[in-house]
Subunit: 312 residues, 2 copies
C-alpha cells in the first residue's frame, strides 16, 4: 500500500498525428504527456485547443509546452491557445520551450493584436546541438533530443527520476527505527543497531518500481545518431511520414518511413513504438504497421484521442 | 434563356461564427463568399482549412482572401492554409487583403520555417480610415468598410456591378440588328433604322436583375458612422458577440449586442441580417434572435456549414 499518495500516472494522449497538411482524419502534431499528474503539451499544431476541448482536457492545467520546431504543423495552434489561456483568466506562469525564433513569432503576434497577457510566459530556447535537461522537479526530468530535419528540430524525453526505496513498515516498528536510520537504509547502507545487530537494506526495503522513460521524435530523417539518446525508452513515438514506396521522398524531405522508425526502435532497444505524423496521401495506415512489424514487433499506430500508457 | 452562361450565384457559407475562444460548437471567424462562381475567403480563424475540407470546398479554388483585423480569431488559420496551398502544388497567384502588419507576420512565419512558396501572394494593405475599392472585375466589386474596434479593423462589401440589359433575340432577328446597333440599345439609346423606323430600348431589352450587395462587419462596436457604408445591402453579417445583459462589456470590448446589430440593420435599410461572432459564454443562441427581432424582423443566426443566399 506504500506509495498510494504519489500519483504514478504516465501516459500519452494523441491530439494530432497527421503531417503537414491536415485532413479530416488527422490533426497536425500535438500530444499531452501526463507524468505524475502534471500535464505537458508537446507540439501544438493548428486546432490543438479544439482537440484538447474534445478530449475534455482543461488547457488551464497545462503548465509546460514544448515545441519541436517551427514548421507550421507543429506550432500554429500555439498563439490561439496562449490567447485563450489569457481570456480564460489564467494568472499564473507558463513555461514554453522551443526554438529561439518562436519568441519573435509570439512577440510579433501579440504586438499586432495589442494583446497583453495576464499571465507570465517563461521562454526557454532549445538547441538541436546536444541533448539538454529542460526541466526537472522532485520526481521527473524532461530533456530535449537533437533530431535531423530540414530545419532546427528537437525531440523531447520525459523520464521518471530513480525512485528511492521505501523501508518496510514492519521493519520500522520491529526495531523502532528513527528517521536518520530510515534514511540510511533508503540510501542502501547496512544499518548497525546499538545491540550490534545489523539490518541489510535489501531485506528491509521494498524494491521501488523501475523509472520509466518516454521519447518523442517529431520530425526526423532516419538518423542513427539518435539511438543513444532514446536508448531503452519504455515508449517511443517516432515519426513515420511515409511507407517504403516513398523512401526517396522521405530522404529528400528529411522524414522517415515506418520501416526506418521501427529499425531505430529495435536498435535503441525500446519497449514499444508508436508511429505517427502520417502523410495526408494515405487514407488508412494499416500498411505502416505491416512494414514496421517486419523490423520490430511491439508497434502501434497513433490516432487522435488514443492514450498510450508508459508501462513498467 | 438568356444569361444562362453567366453564373449568377451569390451566397455566403459560414465556416466559423464563434468569438475569440473557440468551442466545440463554433469555430473562430471565417466564411466563403461565392460571387458569380468566384470564391472569396473572408477572415481565416484557426481551423479554417479543416472547416473548408469539411464543407468540401477546395482551397485551391480560393483566389482572394480578406482579413478584417489581426486578432487571432480572425487570422490564425491563414499561415496553415497558405502552406497547404503550397504543399498541394498551387502555382498561380493569390490576392491577400488585410492590415499592413499581416505582411510582417507572414514574412516572419515563412522565414523561420524556411518556406518558399511555389505561388505568388499579392498583398494589398487595407486601411480603416475610409471605404476603399479593393478588387473589381467585369461583374463585381469588393470594398473595405471602416469599422470601430479595439484595433484597426475593416469589414468587406461584395457588390454586383450594374448589369447591362440584353436585347431580346426576337428583336435582333426581326430587324437583323448588327452588333453596333445592339450595343446602342443595351446602352439605353433609341435606335433609328434605315427605313426610319425607331426601336425603343425599353421594348427591345430584357430588364436585367438588380445588382446585389453583401456586407460583412466582423468585429465592431455599435457605430452609426457605419450605416451609409452598408446602406441597402441585400444581406448584412454583423457581429453580435453579446446579449443585452452584457451591454457594458460590449462597449468596453468594442463589440456589439444582438440588439445593436439589429438597430444598425434597420437604420441601414438592409434586407436581411445574419448575426454571428457569438461569445463562448453562451451555450445556445436563441436569445440573440429574440432580442434582435425586437428591432428588426428579417434576422437569422450564423452557424457552421449554413449557406445564406444573397437574394434579389
Amino acid at each position: 500500500m506504500e506509495g498510494l499518495f504519489c500519483n504514478m500516472t504516465f501516459d500519452v494522449t494523441i491530439l494530432g498525428c497527421g503531417a503537414a497538411t491536415p485532413t479530416l482524419r488527422h490533426n497536425p502534431s500535438a500530444q499531452i504527456v501526463n507524468l505524475h499528474d502534471k500535464l505537458f503539451l508537446v507540439d501544438c499544431g493548428e486546432g490543438t485547443q479544439m482537440a484538447l476541448r474534445k478530449q475534455k482536457i482543461k488547457i488551464q492545467r497545462i503548465q509546460h509546452i514544448f515545441i519541436s520546431h517551427l514548421h507550421g504543423d507543429h506550432y500554429l495552434g500555439l498563439i490561439g491557445l496562449l490567447s485563450s489561456l489569457h481570456l480564460l483568466g489564467n494568472k499564473g506562469e507558463l513555461n514554453l520551450y522551443g526554438p529561439p525564433d518562436l519568441k519573435a513569432l509570439l512577440d510579433l503576434s501579440f504586438k499586432v493584436s495589442e494583446t497583453y497577457l495576464d499571465y507570465t510566459i517563461n521562454f526557454f530556447p532549445t538547441s538541436d546541438k546536444e541533448k539538454q535537461l529542460l526541466y526537472e522537479d522532485k520526481t521527473l526530468e524532461v530533456y530535449s533530443i537533437p533530431l535531423k530535419h530540414r530545419i532546427e528540430c528537437c525531440g523531447f524525453q520525459f523520464c521518471e527520476k530513480p525512485k528511492v526505496p521505501k523501508v518496510k513498515k514492519g521493519v520500522i516498528s520491529k526495531y523502532d527505527l528513527q528517521p536518520s536510520q530510515i534514511i540510511e537504509l533508503k540510501h542502501g547502507n547496512v544499518l548497525t543497531l546499538e545491540n550490534g545487530e545489523t539490518i541489510d537494506p535489501i531485506d528491509a526495503c521494498i524494491t521501488p518500481d523501475r523509472s520509466r522513460k518516454y521519447s518523442y521524435c517529431s520530425d526526423t530523417m532516419y538518423w542513427e545518431t539518435l539511438i543513444p539518446h532514446i536508448a531503452d525508452s519504455d515508449l517511443l513515438y517516432h515519426e513515420s511520414t511515409f511507407l517504403d514506396s516513398e523512401l526517396e521522398r522521405a530522404k529528400h524531405t528529411f522524414h522517415s518511413t515506418a520501416r526506418q522508425a521501427a529499425k531505430i526502435a529495435r536498435m535503441a532497444n525500446v519497449k514499444k513504438l508508436i508511429l505517427g505524423h502520417f502523410s495526408s496521401r494515405y487514407h488508412e495506415e494499416e500498411q505502416f504497421l505491416v512494414e514496421a512489424k517486419e523490423e520490430f514487433e511491439n508497434v502501434d499506430l497513433a490516432d487522435e484521442g488514443k492514450t498510450f500508457s508508459v508501462d513498467y
